[in-house]
Each structure stands twice: as structure tokens, then as C-alpha cells.
């Protein structure tokens, strides 16, 4: 198998309103940039910490790591309005709390899910937004504007499209970002839904995290085009490519797509080139070291989003060389990294979530038979 993996080709697609030569990122303040950096740490810490919790025996279930793909989540979500919707999948667990996370992470008017709710879900407790009726990333909430996915890959894209149709009729200006793996773009529903969205110019942005592997299947066995973004051409919509390791490049491309969508021009696909650092889930970590060539793994992990972001901030002069070396999570796996490798507010934030989850009770057994139907009496 000879493939280029983890390489990112940023193609400028002329959909951003070119009134100026500014990229979306150029409008970000220093605080915004530092906040994004912090969020990359937060996403990484969530991943690292959950694995530790599992190793400690305090957590059960399969974990689908977003390690090495955090820049995609942070970059894609950072520019959204609180009224925008998202639809994350298995590998996007941090998306649930990253949505609408800015400034004071605990501000009461936040629309996104709190870390407490997300942890209650991970631990299967009643305070999960879905009362732990379905597992892992299968949570959602109308009030928090997150589509509640099934397991069936790409299955939320038509829901996102219909939802945006309704929002437009309701006079809203929301955009919906759906996240998908590159493997999932082979599903028929991916095609049906984006085609429909294209016909009706619905504001649906499909972010494809091309991490080169779909479980044990490499990209080229699922797709014959060099870039997933090419799929967009079949629908007559823009297909952008972002460097998935670079939170600012993701931000640029997704924001162009979001702006395009919000201004009524319709859907687009943003492919973020990245690499799945570990197994498909943690049960697959060992195997994934065997079925994937070592060189590929090493190359794919080489550009840690933490390091890429730090370098940008250094170049911008937003952090000093000293500040750049305060935390050392970069390049470390879950066993190597410790709490000291992360900003303390990140650790605190998640601690609070986990504390909360551990105290939240299990739902009562009878809830299993509840809410099959809306009662009409």
C-alpha cells in the first residue's frame, strides 16, 4: 500500500467573500487564539484522562480517541454562533462540551453541553442529557442544538439538512456542522443528504475528518479519489481541504464554508487531513499497531496539533518562548502524559465534570420502558 498519509494540501477555494484579503483567522483576537490553544489542550486532556480513568477501573466501555484530531474539533466549532447546530460522531466526544465554549467555561448562559453532562453520559448516569439511554457520543439535545445521532454512519446528515430547512422557514440563520469520518463518505445516505442539501442550498457544512483509516480499512479501499473533498464536485458544491493538524487552518476553511452556508449559498464539504493516532477504539490499540505500517504511524503522529498551534502563537507573538514550554502534553500518549502537562484550568474543568458524574445515580431500571412513545393524554 503506497499512500501519502497525513499530508495536508490547503487549496484555496474561492468561496470566502473576497472583499478583503483577510482570512477568517485574521479577525481573531489574541484572546481568541489563546482560548483555542487552551481548548486544544482541553480536548486532548479529555482523551488522556478518560483512558486513565478506564485503566484505573473507574470507567467502562469503549473509548474512541480523538487524539491528534483535536484541532479539527476546536477549529471547526470555534466560530459558530450559539444558535448553530452540530452533529458529532464517535470520535468527536469533546465536541459536545466544546460547542459554545468561550471565555468563562462555566458561564450559566452557555447553550452547549456542560462538562458535567458530558461526563454523566460517559459514565452512563442519569444526568446525561439522554439519561444514559444510548451510549458514548449518542447524545443530543434540542435545547443545546446538538443532533442526537444513531450508530449508523453519516445517518445524521439528512437530519441536519431537514433541520436547516426548518430553521430557514422559521426565519433562523443557523448553520449545522456534521462531522464524519472519511470512511463514512461511502454510505449512500451521505450522497442522498448532501445532494438534497445542494438542491435546496441548505446551510449544512460537512466536516470530514480524513484520518486515513476507517477502523481497519485504509482510505483508498473506501474512496477512489485522492481527496475526500472531491466528493463535493459530484454535488456541485465547494469542497475545501484543511490541514487537520492546524487549528487555524481548520478554522479558516470551516468558517469560509459556514459563511457560504449562512449567506444562502448552500452546503459544502471541508476535508480535514489528519491521522488516527491510535486504534479505532481503545480495544483496537494493539491491533492498530500491527495492521498499520510503523512509518505511517510515526509520520501521522508527527505534527501534534498542540505543537502546531503553539508554533503559530509563537510566530504571532501571542506567547513567549517561556510560555510555550510551560506544558508538555505534546507528543505524549495517555500513559506518558500527566496532569502537569496540561494547563490547570483544563484539569480543573474536567475534574469537576468527573466528580459530578461519579455522584450522579444510574437511571431507574423502569426507564428502559419509558418514552417509547409520546403519551397523548
Amino acid at each position: 500500500m503506497s499512500r501519502e498519509s497525513g499530508t495536508a494540501t490547503a487549496e484555496a477555494t474561492p468561496i470566502h467573500a473576497q472583499v478583503s484579503n483577510l482570512r477568517p483567522r485574521d479577525l481573531l483576537s489574541k484572546e481568541d487564539c489563546l482560548e483555542m490553544f487552551r481548548q486544544v489542550y482541553l480536548a486532548r486532556y479529555f482523551d488522556v484522562r478518560l483512558i486513565k480513568e478506564k485503566k484505573r477501573g473507574r470507567l467502562k466501555g469503549t473509548l474512541y480517541s480523538s487524539h491528534n484530531q483535536e484541532a479539527i474539533l476546536v477549529g471547526a466549532l470555534f466560530g459558530l454562533k450559539p444558535t448553530d447546530w452540530i452533529s458529532p460522531i464517535h470520535r468527536d466526544m469533546p465536541a459536545f462540551f466544546l460547542k459554545d465554549l468561550r471565555g468563562d467555561w462555566n458561564r450559566p448562559d452557555r447553550i452547549g453541553m456542560s462538562i458535567e453532562e458530558v461526563c454523566a453520559q460517559v459514565w452512563g448516569r442519569v444526568d446525561s442529557p439522554g439519561r444514559a439511554r444510548d451510549n458514548w457520543s449518542h447524545i443530543g439535545s434540542r435545547s443545546k442544538k446538538i443532533i442526537h445521532s444513531t450508530s449508523m454512519l453519516a445517518g445524521t446528515i439528512p437530519v441536519a439538512a431537514g433541520l436547516m430547512y426548518a430553521d430557514r422557514l422559521n426565519g433562523g440563520d443557523a448553520v449545522c456542522i456534521t462531522f464524519n469520518g472519511e470512511g463514512s463518505t461511502a454510505q449512500g445516505i451521505f450522497h442522498e443528504a448532501i445532494n438534497y442539501a445542494a438542491v435546496h442550498k441548505l446551510p449544512v457544512v460537512t466536516v470530514v475528518e480524513n484520518n486515513q483509516w476507517a477502523y481497519g480499512t485504509p482510505f483508498e479501499l473506501g474512496c477512489a479519489t485522492p481527496d475526500v473533498a472531491d466528493r463535493a464536485k459530484g454535488f456541485g458544491i465547494p469542497g475545501l481541504i484543511a490541514d487537520g493538524q492546524d487549528v487555524f487552518d481548520v478554522y479558516d476553511k470551516v468558517m469560509m464554508a459556514v459563511e457560504h452556508a449562512r449567506s444562502g449559498k448552500g452546503p459544502s464539504i471541508v476535508e480535514c487531513k489528519t491521522f488516527r493516532a491510535y486504534g479505532h477504539g481503545d480495544h483496537d490499540d494493539d491491533r492498530a499497531n500491527k495492521y498499520r505500517p510503523q512509518e505511517e504511524i510515526i509520520a501521522g503522529r508527527a505534527r501534534d496539533p498542540i505543537g502546531v498551534c503553539r508554533q503559530t502563537l509563537l510566530d504571532l507573538g501571542y506567547i513567549s518562548a517561556a510560555e510555550a514550554t510551560t506544558y508538555h502534553a505534546e507528543g505524549k500518549n495517555a500513559s506518558e502524559a500527566t496532569n502537569e502537562d496540561f494547563p490547570p484550568e483544563v484539569v480543573d474543568y474536567l475534574n469537576a465534570g468527573i466528580e459530578f458524574a461519579l455522584q450522579s445515580p444510574l437511571p431507574a431500571a423502569e426507564e428502559g420502558a419509558m418514552w417509547v412513545f409520546k403519551e397523548n393524554n
Binding site: P129, G140, R142, T150, T156, V159, L163, A166, I189, E367
Partner: protein, 337 residues
């Protein structure tokens, strides 16, 4: 006071007109209602059930969808999540298989998964049933798939009055409903009837007794109700008094009416045109066996489609489907047991 343009407000109405009136009236009542499907707008629907709807309510609310059933269902789910009530038409109910995952796994479970936060007022309706020479893919009664998929209500009216009242009820129910319309009844003259001038709905889970009798109970729904009614007439000539029950809704099922009838007749024949194995006829028999066992004086009998596809050419089609003759024979066998 019908909202349907060019349809006389008095006079007997056929089944498809009843459907159409329900859609027009609900669209009028509920500004948040949307209709979507293949060819429902410009064409007015393959069977005309949505004829005039686009002209009256515009293309925002009456959507000619691409030929993509999964997307039709999935986007209906999204519309509902966005606060809309949706009627989504399957051009033929047979094509629902192409949207199957979105129905059973996405739509049917949304309310459950959100622990009740989100309702799914989505009605999937479409022409169903055999006896019209439609062959394998324009004849199906595949309701059992959905009865076995928790979270869906399943409805099958046999009269214009029921069609209108149940459809309006479904569009106000707030739950995903699978609405099986019998296309062979759409324009059947004999069953035309006067419809109430006033708004009405028919509650789910209430069967209708179409013919009273004392010797044997014939339970059915949809087109086969008429076979049962004819069989009851034949049986009457033979001195057997048959009661015909039209269950109207499968999920929820009106068990009481069935049990009460069997308590009287002590004999049960269930008739439907779906394949036998794991079909709804068997479900009714199982419920009776479990809960009204003592009432039966003879084994219950299923008259269903054989476990075959629906073949095209008439003699083959009729060979595999329930008929008046088969029902009469079964009833006689039962009462003579």
C-alpha cells in the same frame, strides 16, 4: 367545509379524496406542517393525493424531493426536530425499504433516545397492497417490519371516513406513524361515503365492527376487510353468522374488541395480505392465544399471503393471496371443528 379546491363539499367521497381532504385541512390548521415526497408537488402525487397542494401552500411547504427515500425520511426527522409536523409520502409503500434504516433506527427512536425531549410528528404514508396486478414491487404490505420496530405507530384504514379521520389523527399524534393506504381502494366506487362537514379524528387503538355475528370472528384490516365482509355474506347463506372486525390500527392494537368478540363466537380467523411468517395475523393469534385462550373452541386460522413475493400475472397473484373463498372455507372448518 372542505379545504380541497374543486372537490364538492357534499356528496360521497372516495378513499383518496378523503386522504387529500385530511392533508389540505391539516396543512390549513397547522402552519408548521410540511409535505414532502417524490412528485407530490408539480405532479400532485402519483395517485393525486396531494393534487393542488403545491399551488395552495407553495414550494416551501410542499416539497418535490429527489428520488431518495432515506433522505426523505431523514430530512423529515430533521424537520420535526426543527419544530415541524411532516407528512412524507412514499410513492409506493414498497419503496420504503430504501429508507428503512432512517425509519427504524433514526426516526422511531428519537423520542426514546432524548428521553422525551423531542417529539417526532412525522407521518409516512403511501399506497400499499396487492390485488391490482402491481407485481413484486407495487403490491407489498410490509407493515410487520414496522410493527417489530419499537417507536412506530402503524395504521391501515379501510374506508374513506377512517382514512381521513385516522390521517388527521396521525398528523396530530406527535409520534412517527406509518400510514398504509390501500391503493386498490383509492377510487373504489362501492366504498365512497359521506364525510362529516366538521373536523374529526379517529382515535388509535379502536377497532370497528364491520358486521355483527355470533359464530366466528373474522379479524382483518385494509383491503381484506372487504373479503371478510363478503365472506360473512357467503357464510350467512350457509347458516354461519360471522363477525367482522376491522382493527384499523395495528400499533396500538384494540385487543378488547377482539377478545370480546371471541368470547361470544369462540372461533377466530385472521386475514391479511402480508406474508404469513412474522406477519401481523400471527401477532393477533399470539395475543389471543396468550390472553383469550379459554374463549377459543377451535384452533384459530390465519389466511394470509403465502410466504412468497406477489407475482404479477393474475392467476399467480390470486393464488398466493387471501380470497373470499379461502376465508369461507376456513370459517367453515373452524365452526365445524
Amino acid at each position: 367545509m372542505s379545504a380541497v379546491a374543486n372537490t364538492p363539499t357534499t356528496g360521497r367521497k372516495n378513499y383518496v379524496t378523503a386522504i387529500k381532504e385530511a392533508l389540505f385541512e391539516e396543512m390549513e390548521r397547522n402552519p408548521d406542517m410540511i409535505c414532502q415526497g417524490e412528485d407530490i408537488g408539480i405532479l400532485g402525487g402519483a395517485f393525486g393525493a396531494t393534487d393542488g397542494l403545491l399551488a395552495k401552500y407553495g414550494s416551501d411547504r410542499v416539497i418535490d424531493m429527489p428520488i431518495a427515500e432515506a433522505c426523505i425520511v431523514g430530512s423529515a426527522t430533521g424537520l420535526a426536530l426543527g419544530g415541524k409536523t411532516v407528512m412524507a409520502e412514499m410513492q409506493f409503500i414498497d419503496f420504503i425499504s430504501c429508507g428503512f434504516d432512517q425509519i427504524v433506527n433514526m426516526l422511531a427512536t428519537y423520542h426514546y433516545r432524548t428521553a422525551g425531549e423531542v417529539n417526532m410528528p412525522v407521518v409516512l404514508r403511501g399506497p400499499a397492497g396487492a390485488y391490482g396486478g402491481g407485481a413484486l414491487y407495487h403490491s407489498q404490505m410490509n407493515e410487520a417490519w414496522f410493527c417489530n420496530s419499537p417507536g412506530l405507530k402503524v395504521i391501515c384504514p379501510s374506508t374513506p371516513y377512517d382514512a381521513k379521520g385516522l390521517l388527521k389523527g396521525a398528523l396530530r399524534d406527535g409520534n412517527p406513524c406509518l400510514f398504509f393506504e390501500i391503493k386498490e381502494l383509492y377510487r373504489k366506487r362501492e366504498i365512497e361515503e359521506l364525510l362529516p362537514e366538521d373536523d374529526y379524528t379517529i382515535p388509535f387503538g379502536k377497532a370497528a365492527i364491520r358486521h355483527e355475528g355470533t359464530d366466528v370472528t373474522l379479524v382483518s384490516y385494509g383491503q381484506n376487510v372487504y373479503h371478510c365482509i363478503q365472506a360473512a355474506a357467503e357464510l350467512e347463506k350457509l347458516g354461519v353468522s360471522a363477525e367482522v372486525i376491522d382493527i384499523r390500527t395495528l400499533v396500538p392494537l384494540d385487543e378488547d374488541t377482539i377478545f370480546t368478540s371471541i368470547a361470544k363466537t369462540n372461533h377466530l380467523i385472521v386475514v391479511n395480505e402480508a406474508p404469513m411468517t412474522c406477519g401481523f395475523a400471527g401477532e393477533i393469534i399470539a395475543r389471543v392465544a396468550e390472553k383469550a385462550f379459554e374463549y377459543l373452541d377451535a384452533p384459530p386460522i390465519r389466511i394470509t399471503r403465502l410466504d412468497t413475493p406477489v407475482p404479477w400475472v393474475k392467476p399467480l397473484e390470486l393464488f398466493v393471496l387471501p380470497s373470499v373463498e379461502k376465508i369461507v372455507q376456513a370459517a367453515l372448518k373452524s365452526v365445524k371443528f
